[in-house]
């Protein structure tokens, strides 16, 4: 009898600890999805395009950091900004060479071009760096920290901290600087933005650069946990897209919350049901949102204000 009680209790605490553990790791992957999702929504609000190449910038972040670390033997603190800078340049070239020259920029054409761009970038990465999976060393060791029976890695804390910082910077840029306000103005009313002298083309270019920076940063901070390869962009990109859809394609907190919800549900589902369903969960959520609330989970409040 006693043994049974003991076992029962033990199972309960086990379960609690497990859930906490899954939640922690879910939050950190969710933060990554949020960053990628914000990248999607920035370009979407600026141009009305869903940039399916967004995931490739995530891949570029990780792979370029690796390149700077291993090939050029730079220290980590130098490799990261260099990787971000090169990714930003790639984003700029992508807009200039693939998006802007389009003769008939209908949404469908633009989306197809971004898909083509993503395949091209992925192919180039494969030719350059091969098909192997690589690991980036964690930023500050891999000594696990235990919190209330769950353990987290220092990298998890890095991910959450950097994500919070980026979100804060992002918010400041869009709400308190003239360039950020101009970008928002462009997305709300292109014609009027042109008439006050805002160069709409330049704002579109900016939006691509900003989202490639966000994407590459996401790819860099997640690489020590999940490894990186030429094709990690596909899945991460789709998950980020999911986060943006949950958030109703708004670049604010809604997408962040969307990413976190997605990350936690995915991690709980993988842990408690089966890890085989991890990706399926994300896409079931995506489909449900598109069926039931295509304006996003928090879409109502937003649409009233517009």
């Amino acid at each position: 009898m006693k043994v049974r009680e003991f076992l029962c209790k033990k199972r309960k605490t086990m379960q609690f600890e497990q859930i906490l553990q899954y939640t922690f790791s879910g939050l950190s992957t969710g933060a990554i999805y949020a960053l990628i999702g914000i990248g999607f929504s920035i370009i979407f609000t600026a141009t009305g395009i869903i940039n399916f190449a967004q995931g490739e910038f995530v891949m570029l972040g990780g792979m370029l950091t690796l390149f700077f670390l291993e090939v050029l033997k730079l220290p980590l603190w130098a490799a990261i900004p260099s990787a971000v800078a090169v990714s930003a340049l790639a984003g700029l070239l992508f807009e200039r060479l693939a998006i802007r020259p389009l003769r008939q920029p209908t949404p469908l054409n633009l989306v197809i071009v971004t898909i083509a761009g993503s395949i091209l970038i992925r192919g180039l990465a494969m030719l350059l760096w091969g098909k192997d999976t690589h690991a980036i060393p964690p930023f500050t060791g891999d000594e696990p920290i235990s919190i209330a029976g769950a353990t987290i890695l220092p990298q998890h804390i890095w991910i959450l901290a950097i994500t919070l910082l980026i979100i804060a910077v992002n918010k400041f840029f869009f709400y308190h600087t003239i360039s950020g306000k101009a970008m928002r103005a462009c997305s709300y009313n292109r014609r009027a933005a042109g008439l006050v002298g805002i160069d709409v083309h330049r704002m579109v270019l900016f939006s691509f650069v900003i989202s490639s920076v966000l994407g590459s940063l996401a790819g860099i901070i997640v690489a020590p946990l999940t490894m990186t390869a030429y094709d990690v962009g596909i899945m991460l990109g789709l998950k980020g897209f999911c986060a943006a859809i949950i958030g109703g394609m708004s670049s604010g907190m809604a997408t962040v919350v969307g990413g976190l919800i997605l990350g936690v549900l995915e991690s709980l589902g993988a842990g408690l049901i089966s890890s085989g369903y991890k990706d399926a969960i994300a896409f079931i959520i995506l489909l449900l949102i598109l069926f039931i609330r295509p304006q996003g989970l928090f879409g109502k409040a937003e649409s009233e204000r517009v």
């Binding site: 003239i178 306000k181 101009a182 928002r184 103005a185 709300y188 009313n189 014609r191 009027a192 933005a193 042109g194 008439l195 006050v196 002298g197 805002i198 160069d199 204000r305 517009v306």
Partner: protein, 247 residues
């Protein structure tokens, strides 16, 4: 100050402006009247560089500005208040005004000059100051029109192009807005090109007027003259009919 010479503008294959020539003197208020689709808005957009002319020349202070992009035109000192106000609805009143001065921020102009101009907009339209933190989209039509004018003024223009500022507004609000235009001319020497459907109010305010019909200027002259013109009366002031009816 502004001179259009034989302007021809096309929307695809549609010939929207046919050999339009007009001029504005420094400090003048000139109105363009005409029916829907006559090409009034197209003239403003051609000046602003939104739909550049396919032929002819636009001269601003004797310099050709025919093919410049909208942002360069604003830099030259020509601001447009577009039809339907087109304020940035999800942004605050203050942000809207700041964006009006976007190019001045970009050229690193002294912030205090920009703030001074914002204060001036607030003295012209005290209601905007009361609502400076409110989102533009939540204001009434008249207030949005004031904001649209204020935003254009923030660029510090020499020439203001207004597209149907009275549209959908109560007569009292229209009066208030037209008084501000007069005050701007008197105090700041701003030149105004006013496009209006409300020909009566526009001809009362303006010094001169042009009458546009299917892309061509068919009449021009001082406002008093146009007001007395039988053709204008019949087509745009709706006078004749009433008189017949009264008789």
């Amino acid at each position: 100050m502004l001179r259009l010479k034989n302007i021809n503008t096309y929307y695809g294959k549609v010939h929207a402006l046919k050999n339009v020539s007009l001029h504005l003197g420094e400090g003048e208020i000139v109105t363009l009247i005409g029916a829907n689709g006559a090409g009034k808005t197209t003239i403003l957009n051609t000046i602003s560089g939104v739909t550049p002319a396919g032929g002819g020349e636009v001269l601003f202070r004797k310099e050709p500005v025919t093919t410049l992009t909208p942002d360069r035109i604003v830099k030259y000192g020509i601001s447009q208040v577009p039809e339907g106000r087109q304020v940035f609805k999800p942004l605050s009143v203050e942000d809207n005004l700041e964006l009006g001065a976007y190019l001045r921020y970009r050229s690193r102009e002294d912030r205090s000059a920009i703030r001074r101009d914002m204060a001036q907009v607030f003295t012209l339209f005290p209601r905007l100051e009361e609502r400076r933190r409110q989102l533009a989209g939540t204001m009434s039509g008249g207030e949005q029109q004031m904001l649209a004018i204020g935003r254009a003024l923030m660029a510090n223009p020499k020439l203001l192009l207004l597209d149907e500022p009275s549209m959908g507004l109560a007569p009292l609000v229209v009066q208030e807005i037209f008084r501000v235009l007069e005050r701007l001319r008197r105090e700041n020497g701003v030149t105004v090109l006013l496009v209006e459907q409300n020909a009566k109010a526009a001809l009362k305010l303006a010094d001169r007027g042009y009458v546009l019909e299917t892309g061509k200027i068919i009449l021009e002259g001082p406002s008093e003259e146009l007001r007395e013109n039988a053709e204008v009366k019949r087509a745009y002031l709706g006078k004749d009919k009433k008189e017949i009816w009264e008789r």
